[in-house]
Amino acid sequence: MSDPSLDLIPDGPPPTGAQTDVGDSLISRRRYRRILLAAVLSVSVVAVVPLVIMTWVTYRQYERAFREEQTRPMVRFVTNGKQSLENFLEERSAALTYLLMERSQEDLEDSSTLAGILANMKASFGGFVDLGVVEDHGTQVSYAGPFGLEGRDYRDHPWFQEVIRQGAYVSDVFLGYRDSPHFVIAVHRELGPDQGYVLRATIDTEYIDRLVRTLVHQPGGDVFLVNRDGILQTPSRSHGAILERARVPPLPFSNQTELTEMDGAAGHRHIAAYAPIEGSPFTLVMVSPGDVAEAGWPALRRNLLLFLGVSVLLILAVVISGATWMVNRAREADLLRAAAYHKMEYTNKMAALGRLSAGVAHEINNPVSIITEKAGLLKDLLLMSETLPPKERMVDLLDSVLRSADRCGGITHRLLGFAKHMQVRTETIDVDLLLKEVLGFLEKEAVYRGIRVEFDVPEDPPDIVSDRGQLQQVFLNILNNAFAAVEDGGTIQIGLKEVEPDSVAVWIKDNGVGIQEEHLTHIFDPFFSTKKGAGTGLGLSITYGIIQKLGGEISVQSKVGVGTRFIVTLPKGNTAMQE
């Protein structure tokens, strides 16, 4: 008796060990790796991003501060240098203008007087090399200086044309007749239309070279003058020789001191400060030595980056170890829960097995008792009386034995059916059609007993995905009960309705005897039956099990003498779980 019932428990899981199919989806390692990754990424981003932003802002501020510290003195030196050079040129230009006003043309054209003036100017101003007076047609009419340039014609020289046009002029540095670098300051006095003369002085570049060199304040730095075409007007340390093109980028014109960055040798970035010298074609340029912000800044930058790197590593280490620890704890807890769940499920199945065994014992023992007593009686009759009992009597007793044996067979058959219906096979089903097919089995009985069957189905009933064979059994069981419950001439109503977007409800209502209230809670228990002798008590229990398997629900409403209504709710899609 216990053997067949053992077969009834489907796919009994082991009581321990969580690595089963259900467990795998919930507690798979991959799932926890995903959780871990998400936790580590989110926490790291939240922790690291503000740190990186703060470090970057600090980095930029320090960089700016360091650059300002380096450029401020350059700007100051260049501005001062510009002032000095402007003063130098202004002084000499003013001296020449004074001479032009103070002395008459005759005085100036007298070579001995001019030589005296040159001597005085050399003594009081410095930088003057020679003096000359050039008439408007271009001939130098008098000259004082070391080179004997009297009678030279300057008509085609650019400086001469410029001074006639502007009244005063400072030339670029050029080699001139004497093949040594110098420049000219010239002023013009106009006596009438196309009549006048020019006083020109040659200025020693050595003098402004010295002035420019004094501005070099940093070792390795460079200071020089360029003209408007970028030609060096003074020697430079590392940007070319005098009168060569300076190795600097074009410097945009400005009235004040400007800063610009430029590429130097060996990939260094230099800072250049420059300012135009007013009233002359010169621009004073100062180039910083070596790389931008060489001192102090690299060390600070290294410390900043080191701080950032160490902090990020620390944060990552703490986040990864913390998250790993927590996810592992969560996984362990889930494993324990899954194990407990399986144990509970197993316990439930064992309890069901117990109930099933008791039910089977009771159901089988009744017909077996009858077989025992009928066979025993036949044996009694054969042994205890002198004559054989009448033939009809013996046949009667044996019929009883056979009937009871049939009852036993029926029970075992049902039990096998119970065991068989544990697997789910799904297909798309027209529930309306299925209900009508099932009703086909009962058509004859309905006609014979005058039972009216009414359908309440919408015009376009929804299809569902489910197991056809099992649904047939479900509805057959419920309809069988309904047929058994109604009197001849009774009514059975079958309805179909979409209840939620994803569910379909089928109800089967009869106006039969009804179910007593105290029985209502037991009608789905195995071997519970009110049809003494006629039923096995398995029908509704099987029905209940199938509907659970299919992911649906079954409920019952009943009132004695009024009728009973079973409501089966089924999911439209196949959400049935096969464990």
Binding site: A361, N365, N366, S369, E373, K374, G376, D380, L397, G533
Partner: protein, 132 residues
Amino acid sequence: MEALRVLIVDDEDELVSALKERLALRGFEADGVTTGEEALEFLRSRPCDVMLLDVKMPGLGGLEVIRRVKGDHPDLEVILLTGHGSVKSVEEGMALGAFDYLMKPVKIDNLVRILMAAGSKPGRKAPEAEGI
């Protein structure tokens, strides 16, 4: 000697009739009914020595029958018949004053022995068994 009067109460009609006849063949005065209500009704008109009582019956169950008959018929001994191994209902029945219990299917020799034991309790005449 007067035969021991036995009342068989079981909802399986065929079981009752067969047992009744077999006990009669063994010298008992056996009667049978198929519900608890019928048993109570029977006892009101005909006194009995031993009642063979099925525990699980529709309507009035075996345990309820013991409760009711023990008051009116203190001399009546009750032997419980049970179809399944529900220890709980057997224990309850014994506590209510049942003499003994038997599991279905019953061996006739066991049944006769227990019936005799129940009938030979002090103050009761020993029954006379025949043909065994």
